[in-house]
């Protein structure tokens, strides 16, 4: 057994560490008052459209950082080699993220590529995948429908074959940033199918006749999900992602190595909340003796989250089924972050509840993480399924 990073993983980690130290830490005061939109992964699409000079300043800063990261060879980490990337391991992505999370400057390395988009084939690669990898295009993800949750049998958007095309009808709820995306990955069902059979994923560009984004919706977290409508939207069969009728399996698969980042991000945000308390303690504004018991309990829990995240990433690197592990990381990480930030606010008091305060930001953001990309309840459900199917065997050491 060896808990050390491999030499390549370690060298990546060191690179990111240096980048954070040399480029990001100094910008922390600048980002203190940055709007929530700069948290999380997809600030670029929306913020870039703004003419607000304040927002412009941040996007300029971020773009400068991106360029620097790219120059240091830190940009295409998780992109497959065949598309010109480094294709680093899951463990390496986690290690890089751990370093990155040591600063509150919300930079993420690499452009956002949806976890299913690597299924692009033929000319889809040049048209959809590579522009996303290069950051020239952004996509949104249309699965959930109004009034429905994670249940595939509730999917009512239809895709009716008509010659070499499909005609899409239906509406979608909650795709984030659909209002500024270049295309949508939308799931629809073939006529007469039920359950997850017949589900098909289409790539539909913004501006396609019959496809409209009707509105974007305000949330607690500064994420802005949208509502989409498809009315007799004709999509050529070349824009089917993966295979016709195999959309559910595609959605269940996860291509690429970003699956466990949520664990490390929660770990990072929670750590930063606790660092804030540490600064209060060191500044004489909070008593160590009063806090130490709870503080220590949370630091220990975060250590456990970190272990679980690394272990899960490692297991994924072995090519094993990690659906239960991914659910465990999501469940444990988001719930723990919620508790940590609650504690931190309780200690820091109303002044940390100012809208621009980092604790308040984490507070708002963490509430949505327990819902988006699968609620806590769904994660429980996924884990119990494996648990009852495989018993304790799947928990065994290898």
């Amino acid at each position: 057994m060896d808990f050390r990073l491999s030499p390549e993983e370690e060298s990546l980690r060191v690179k990111v560490e240096r980048f954070v130290r040399e480029e990001l830490i100094a910008l922390e005061p600048d980002f203190e008052r940055a709007p929530d939109i700069f948290m999380g992964s997809r600030w670029k699409s929306r913020a870039k459209l703004s003419s607000d000079p304040e927002i412009k300043r941040y996007t300029d800063l971020m773009e400068g950082l991106e360029k620097k990261a790219e120059e240091r060879g830190l940009w295409y980490l998780d992109v497959p080699k065949k598309h010109g990337g480094l294709e680093v391991s899951n463990v390496a992505m986690i290690a890089a993220t751990e370093e990155l999370e040591k600063t509150s400057v919300p930079l993420e390395l690499g452009n956002h590529v949806s976890n299913i988009l690597y299924a692009c084939q033929g000319e889809q690669i040049e048209r959809f995948l590579l522009p996303c990898i290069r950051g020239e295009k952004t996509a949104c993800f249309g699965l959930t429908e109004p009034g429905a949750g994670s249940d595939p049998s509730m999917l009512t958007t239809t895709a009716t074959p008509d010659g070499n095309s499909f005609v899409l009808n239906g509406s979608k709820m909650f795709p984030t940033f659909a209002d500024v995306a270049d295309f949508v990955q939308v799931f629809a069902r073939l006529p007469g199918t039920q359950g997850h059979k017949g589900m098909t994923c289409f790539l539909v560009e913004t501006g396609t006749p019959g496809y409209r984004v009707t509105r974007s919706i305000e949330t607690i977290a500064g994420t802005e999900p949208c509502e989409l409508v498809f009315e007799n939207c004709r999509v050529p069969k070349e824009q089917v992602l993966g295979e016709v009728g195999k959309g559910w399996a595609l959605n269940q698969s996860w291509l690429g190595s970003r699956r466990f980042l949520v664990g490390m991000r929660c770990h990072g945000e929670a750590k930063r909340a606790l660092y804030f308390l540490r600064s209060l303690i060191k500044g004489g504004l909070a008593e160590f003796d009063k806090l130490s018991s709870t503080l220590g309990a949370f630091v220990g829990e975060l250590e456990a989250l970190r272990s679980l995240t690394y272990f899960s990433a490692w297991k994924a690197d072995q090519g094993l089924d990690v659906r239960s592990e991914a659910a465990s990381v999501k469940l444990f990480g988001t719930e723990l972050l919620h508790k940590v930030v609650d504690f931190a606010l309780e200690v820091a008091g109303p002044s940390a509840y100012r809208k621009v305060h980092q604790l308040a930001r984490i507070f708002r953001h963490s509430r949505s993480t327990r819902i988006v990309e699968g609620t806590t309840q769904i994660q429980h459900h996924i884990i119990q399924r494996t648990l009852f199917r495989e018993g304790t065997a799947y928990l065994e050491l290898m």
Partner: protein
Amino acid sequence: MDLKLSDEDKLVQRTAARFVERELLQLEGSFLKQTKPFLPPGDPSRRGLDAHLRETLREKLKKIGFWALELPEEAGGGGLSHTACVLIYREFGRTALPFEPPSIPFVVKKSKFVERVVAGELSVALAFDETHKTGDLSEVGARYRKQPRGYCLNSSPVDVLNPSADIFILPAREEGLDKIGLFLLEKAMPGLVIDGEEDLTADQTVARLSLTECALDNDRIVGNEEDLCRLIATEQLHLAARSLGMGRRCLEDSLEHARNRVTFGRPLSARQAIQWMLVDLSLKLRTSTWLTLQAAWQADQGLPYFHSAALAKKCATRMAFDAADTAIQIHGGYGVCKEFPFESFYRDARLMRLLNGREDEINKKIAAQFVNQ
């Protein structure tokens, strides 16, 4: 023992419930609804009630006599008991529309401003930053000294949660002594500065109030230590009552949603994970309700109630926060949207937990009482 409401209290409760249903819940949907289909980049802006609408509602409130609830009738108030006030605020807590009968600190009745306050011309806020942490007096930081024909006050900045108020009530400690006085400050007075107004995560602002050699007439001292404790306890009951309303609303709407929402072929209400969350909530709602009513009853009876009020506040605000959290979770993606009231309750309840005594401080007070009893 008789835990039925008196006929009078029942009438008050029904009147409040009717007002909230007919006047406020009716408006809530359009208040929460986003005005533009697409959002501008940047953070969501602070939401507030339209000034004209607020005025209309205030007039309606006055008509049904829900005005200056706690002040005695001879001062133009409602002369309502603590219990009645709890019942009223509990109903107003059910809506995310930010409107309720203004809470007028009883010490105002001793001042010359009372008439204008009761008429609604002047608004009053508590500058209680220091007591918010502990719910007691240990953190009072402002200082006063007697001087010919009055007092002189100094205070390093304290946070005020309602910086637009016209009058502030501030506790201060006599220099070199332990005595506490409650002072009534007019916003415009020399030496008083309010600055640094900022948005909170709840839809309200906070600003810093500081005093430098601020001279006050004799009549501006409106209370002593005991009055301060009563004001804190009254605030605690107020927060607890509002929390009860939030909790009930969240539970109601969650039950409804769970009954109607079908996933994987069964309604949410058939799933134990959902059932259990709601059962736990119902239990907390119930215990918070009784702790709050008991504290209000003790206050009305002239019994000691400061500890009970603190406990009720702690349990009820926590319950409201958990209730909002549960409602958000059960509503899923809709739960975090600003068009539903739950995220608003969630943000409000988180602040309410921090006001007038944080959990840890209240626990310590209760523990000290337990150990010394």
